[in-house]
């Protein structure tokens, strides 16, 4: 059993995880909200909702819409801001025995550097995910994650301001060549890659004759995007040596196995927890039982 368990231990930089199954940033909020439905301490970790330096109210109007096997969201990075996150949420998360990965928004440069400095004050934080890719926010997000030069400078900045902290760069699929962005992140000192964030999409309310979302565009997640995510992970994993966390549409144990075979070292489950909160733990159990599937 010891060997079996060791097999599924997962590391990014100096940060270790009891297993390579995490909750993706966003759907589970700060984790605690789901503590009644998911035994969070049994998971490798929880990537917390992306935070920005200041609190954000998020987008007005409708924020969710179902599509064929998919979910569009326009939450727009609503979050409590760094002060409340580090002051209230993080202590409660640690208290509950949850292993956090702190997701930070790469907004404009000033806020970003301040947010990094604020984060560096918290010795509890040993792994950070840089959300280079949120497609809902007008400034920031999209622009950063789609330009290798920007990815380079944002990751380098985080690298220098967060010495000793493991750094994951979370990529967007809304680019032509995710491999070059993964390589840029690795070159700039990232310890791992997370792929993918949501795919850009939209929907129209034909009765009301207007886009469903006030911001028009929204982010598509869920089983609909699994083929896209798998291909992105396959490509990213072949472009870098650092571990890749795979996310996007995982909704069964078998789906998770596909990501490991494609080259992911860990998986993140997002949308599926809405309808099947037991899934992340089932994936972890299957890995314990059968070991990590080898990369193909």
């Amino acid at each position: 059993m010891v060997t079996e368990e060791k097999k599924s231990v997962f590391r990014v930089g100096n940060a270790a995880f009891i297993n390579p199954v995490l909750l993706a940033s966003g759907p589970a909020g700060y984790g605690l909200e789901y503590s009644g439905m998911i035994r969070l301490a049994r998971l490798g970790g929880v990537v917390t909702k992306t935070i920005s330096l200041k609190p954000r109210a998020g987008n007005p109007g409708v924020r969710l819409r179902e599509t064929g096997s998919g979910l569009l969201n326009s939450v727009g990075l609503e979050n409590v801001g760094a002060a409340r996150f580090f002051g209230e949420k993080l202590p409660a998360i640690l208290e509950a025995g949850i292993r956090p990965v702190v997701s930070l928004a790469a907004e404009d440069w000033d806020d970003y550097t301040q947010l990094l400095d604020e984060t560096s004050c918290h010795r509890d934080v040993d792994v950070v995910e840089l959300n280079l890719s949120c497609p809902n926010v007008e400034r920031g997000g999209l622009a950063v994650g789609t330009d290798p030069a920007k990815v380079d400078s944002y990751v380098k900045e985080a690298r220098s301001r967060l010495p000793g902290v493991a750094l994951l760069a979370k990529l967007t699929p809304n680019v032509q060549d995710i491999a070059s962005l993964a390589a840029a992140a690795e070159g700039a000192g990232a310890d791992g890659i997370t792929a993918i964030n949501t795919v850009i999409g939209m929907d129209i309310d034909i009765g009301k004759r207007r886009p469903v979302f006030r911001m028009v565009r929204a982010g598509l997640s869920g089983p609909a995007i699994l083929p896209v995510a798998l291909e992105a992970v396959w490509r990213a994993a072949r472009a870098v040596k650092i571990p890749v966390m795979g996310a996007g549409g995982i909704s069964s144990v078998g789906d998770a196995m596909k990501f490991f075979m494609a080259g992911a070292a860990a998986v993140q489950v997002g949308t599926a927890i809405f309808y099947d909160p037991g899934l992340p733990e089932r994936i972890a159990e299957e890995l314990e039982r059968s070991g990590l599937p080898a990369r193909i």
Binding site: G26, P27, A28, G29, Y30, L32, E33, Y34, S35, G36, M37, K49, A57, G58, P60, G61, V62, R63, L64, R65, E66, G68, S69, G70, L71, N73, V75, E78, E88, K89, A92, R214, G222, P223, S251, T271, I273, F274, Y275, D276, P277, G278
Partner: protein, 270 residues
């Protein structure tokens, strides 16, 4: 951080009955360990193991006894059709009780309960809960629906002191919308109560606020919104409230479903 008792349960359907062409009552065995619930709380049901529909569907608790959990289900699309047609013995995954704010007991006061369509469910649960607790104020139900087809037979008549009914097409009760009916009842002095409770489409609740807002001491409303997590995590079901001049977004699933109607920033909400 408050403790979190929101769990997911396997629940067995005991019975499923059509009570009107478009509505049914689905009764589940109360799952072991399922906590007591408050009026306005809801459950979220996984209606299929397919990814179409993808999300759970939220349903107000219509009744919860020691043995049973009852839902009132209107067929609105694919998901509700699946729930309404679940046969006895079928086991479904159901999370709850969800909702962080519920309808307060009117104490001894009289109350008007306005329900649009299946907004009826939490009203029935309110009336039954309050009566069980021995509440002695009079409870007036004013129920509005599109037509007789959407206005289920009044198996709930006994739960209220008086039931008034409006249908848009006039096929049952008052002909017109439920807000017009309430205004008429108030004008004619046939109803008078300090407290207003409501549940129904946003348009109905907004009209209630605008047309009868000043005639009640308080108006609490249970809102609906498209939901994903149901536990306040995903921030997908927010409603804009006015709080000291600012707009803040609250989660219908967790900060609600019950809010003070006067706090809602309607013009920000679509």
């Amino acid at each position: 951080m408050k403790g979190n008792t929101k769990r997911s349960y396997k629940a067995r359907v005991i019975s499923s009955e059509r009570i009107s062409p478009s509505c049914g009552v689905v009764v589940f065995e109360r799952p072991e360990g399922f906590p007591d619930a408050l009026p306005g709380q809801f459950v979220s049901v996984r209606v299929s193991d397919s990814t179409v529909p993808l999300l759970r569907r939220p349903y107000s608790i219509m009744d919860l006894t020691g043995l049973e959990l009852a839902l009132l289900v209107k067929v609105a699309g694919r998901g509700s059709a699946m729930l309404a047609s679940a046969g006895p013995g079928e086991v479904m995954d159901l999370a709850g009780p969800l909702g962080g704010a519920s309808f307060d007991d009117p104490g001894g006061d009289d109350a008007v309960l306005v329900a649009g369509g299946t907004g009826l469910a939490p009203m029935i649960f309110s009336a039954r809960t309050w009566k069980r607790r021995g509440s002695r104020g009079r409870l007036y139900l004013v129920h509005g629906a599109a037509s007789r087809d959407e206005s289920p037979d009044s198996f709930f008549e006994a739960d209220f002191d008086k039931v008034f009914r409006a249908t848009m097409d006039g096929s049952a009760g008052f002909s017109g919308d439920v807000v017009a009916l309430l205004a008429k009842l108030l004008d004619e002095g046939r109803i008078s109560a300090p407290l207003l409770y409501s549940c129904g489409p946003a348009g109905m609740v907004r009209a209630l606020v605008e047309r009868t807002g000043d005639r009640f001491k308080s108006h609490h409303t249970s809102l609906e919104a498209v939901m994903a997590c149901g536990v306040g995590a995903c921030r997908g079901c927010t409603v804009p409230l006015r709080e000291g001049g600012r707009i803040v977004f609250k989660a219908v699933c967790d900060d609600g479903t019950v809010f003070r109607a006067s706090d809602i920033a309607w013009e920000e909400w679509w």
